[in-house]
């Protein structure tokens, strides 16, 4: 049951992250935030440093990390979202590397240890299942409600307009930069939130989950699955979390002492290629 708890928690956490990256940033703007994993790392870093070094309550630390993430993403958006898509990619990649390196420099490659999980109105969340039900599920449900609500707003229409055609948006007097920054902040909010929650769940931080390669993989999966629907986001989270574990179980199951992990990677790569070649979900990016 511990394993199941761990897998479900990962699915929920990556659901929030992929919702932020896929549904918002990629679905409602043309910002290519390849290094979006940086905000996941940032959330963990802030939560870890506040709770371990300063002894702040975990909920407050989570709030602070989310606010910090929004501020950072606002500043980055302000400075860079006027740029062409590929320039932003460079900025995003360098940001993700920078945050990872800062995290390692600040607390060593192992990250923080010994973050104390918060209580939920007096209920201790030390048990994994309690944590999932009382701390993760409310955030996931909130994510779903916010996302569904936004679909109804006029704002959503403006986001789509800006994504599709910036010239037209300018003709209609909407400044594309403002809306891009707004959507980038929303996406970063979810990424920081999931990163912070992750560090609470594992009672520490883990810089090795924020490498560029992980980030690129998450970007790819968000892109493939999460663009139009929340169902897609769920599918993406399952693809990222459950698929490697299922492959692992199937390949190791029949008592085989050895096999190479490269087979899993190979199967994963081939699956990705087939999906890309067959799917038409990937949106047409317009210059």
């Amino acid at each position: 049951m511990d394993y199941l708890a761990s897998v479900s928690a990962h699915i929920l956490l990556y659901f929030i992250f992929i919702a932020g990256l896929g549904k918002y940033i990629l679905g409602k703007s043309s910002v290519w935030s390849i290094g979006h994993i940086a905000f996941w790392g940032l959330g963990g870093l802030v939560v870890g440093s506040l709770t371990v070094d300063f002894g702040v309550n975990a909920w407050i630390a989570l709030l602070a990390s989310v606010l910090f993430g929004i501020i950072i993403s606002f500043l980055i958006g302000l400075a860079s979202l006027r740029l062409d898509g590929d320039y932003f990619v460079i900025l995003s990649v360098s940001l993700s590397e920078l945050i990872r390196v800062i995290a390692i420099e600040y607390r060593g490659p192992g990250g923080f240890n010994g973050i104390i999980r918060p209580t939920f109105f007096g209920v201790s969340l030390e048990n994994d299942w309690l944590f999932i039900v009382l701390a993760l599920c409310p955030f996931v449900i909130a994510t779903i409600i916010i996302t569904l609500r936004l679909e109804q707003l006029h704002l959503n229409r403006i986001f789509l307009l800006v994504k599709e055609n910036e010239i037209l948006a300018k003709s209609f007097r909407y400044n594309p930069v403002y809306y891009k920054i707004l959507i980038f902040c929303i996406g970063s909010f979810f990424a920081t939130l999931s990163g912070g929650l992750y560090s609470l769940f594992i009672r520490g931080t883990d810089p090795s989950t924020t490498t560029l390669y992980q980030g690129v993989l998450l970007f790819a999966i968000s892109l493939l699955s999460g663009i139009n629907t929340l169902k897609g986001v769920l599918l993406g989270a399952l693809l990222f979390v459950a698929a490697p574990r299922m492959l692992e179980y199937i390949i190791t199951a029949p008592g085989s002492a050895t096999y190479s992990y490269n087979i899993i990677q190979l199967v994963y790569g081939i699956l990705l290629l087939i999906v890309v070649l067959l799917t038409s979900r990937v949106p047409v990016y317009q210059k």
Partner: protein, 383 residues
Amino acid sequence: MVKFNKTLWITIVVLFVVLFFITIAFLKPFSDKSKIRIGSVLILSGEYKSYGEYFQQGALLAAEEMNSSQKQQIELTILDSEGSKEKALEKLKALKEQKNIHFVADVMGTAMMRHVIPFINENKILVLSGVNTGPELSGEGGSFFFRIIPSDGIASQQLSKWAIESGFKKGAILYATDDWGQGLRKALDKSYRDLGGEIIDSRDVEVNQTIFQPIVSLYKETKPNVVFLVLYPKTAALFLREVKKQGLQTQIMGTDNFTASELPDIARDAVDGVNFIIPQPAGEPTPQQKNFLELYNLKYGIGKKPHIFTTMAYDCVKLLAKIYQETQGDPERAAKTLEMIQYEGASGHIAFDKNHDVVVKDFSRKVYKYDKVSKKASILDAK
């Protein structure tokens, strides 16, 4: 006929995944008493994956040897932690729940080991570590953690002593950016200063770094007597070549992973004169060592030298299997037995102190000699 639209597809996939995980969560682990079940959580993907594979080689060698010679077979399950501590914990949970494994030959990486310590003590999982040298694990591991490799604290003292004895008072450290490198660097820094040496420069090296020219140029100006390399063999070899190329005159000192054949293979003639220590007594190889070397060469090629991780893995698995047989797979009794054990392995004599660290082995000092005619490097005992 049901129309297969997108929603239906997604629902099917989600249901399938959920059912899959619920099934494996409630599936009773298949407990076959006739087999010795041992697990391993290694780093088999990412930048450090070749080091996980060194360990895997040794573990498989031990399993094969024992399976061919005795009736009770070893069933080895090796999982990948991807270098992430949370994944390591999760894989340990998987080992326990899906395979009912309570004997684990190493959770690779000090940070990962520290992260899983509460879990192993709660669930009575015996972990015998062969590669985790972090000094912070001494005494913190609880009653179910043992290691057969000496802590960095001891290795660093030995290394510093050697350097000071040779008259090198001005040192520089190059260390790998992972937790092993940083831990050993701190220990080395402290012990070298305690003995009266001076560290003039210490800088980190990324695992895949290929650029060492600026560092060597810098050392040519600051002129350290000795450069301690707390690096993995590949990066160390690249540094050595750069030293040779730029003609830097200094003594190079390294640690036990310099035994890997990667180092002389890549560094070639630059390896000549490199000093390093290994946690094995000097002198003639013991029968166990000879046996291991023979097996290794049989499987992986004549003339190859095993990486220290391979040796340690071989010992880990053999020792665990032996304990398992003696205690019929009861981890608590096994832990008690391990505390008292006296065992001769390929890495030397193994016994544990009260911190569950291996009782300090004799370190022996080694030096690389490069023969220009045959173009072969050999390891000799240093004077």
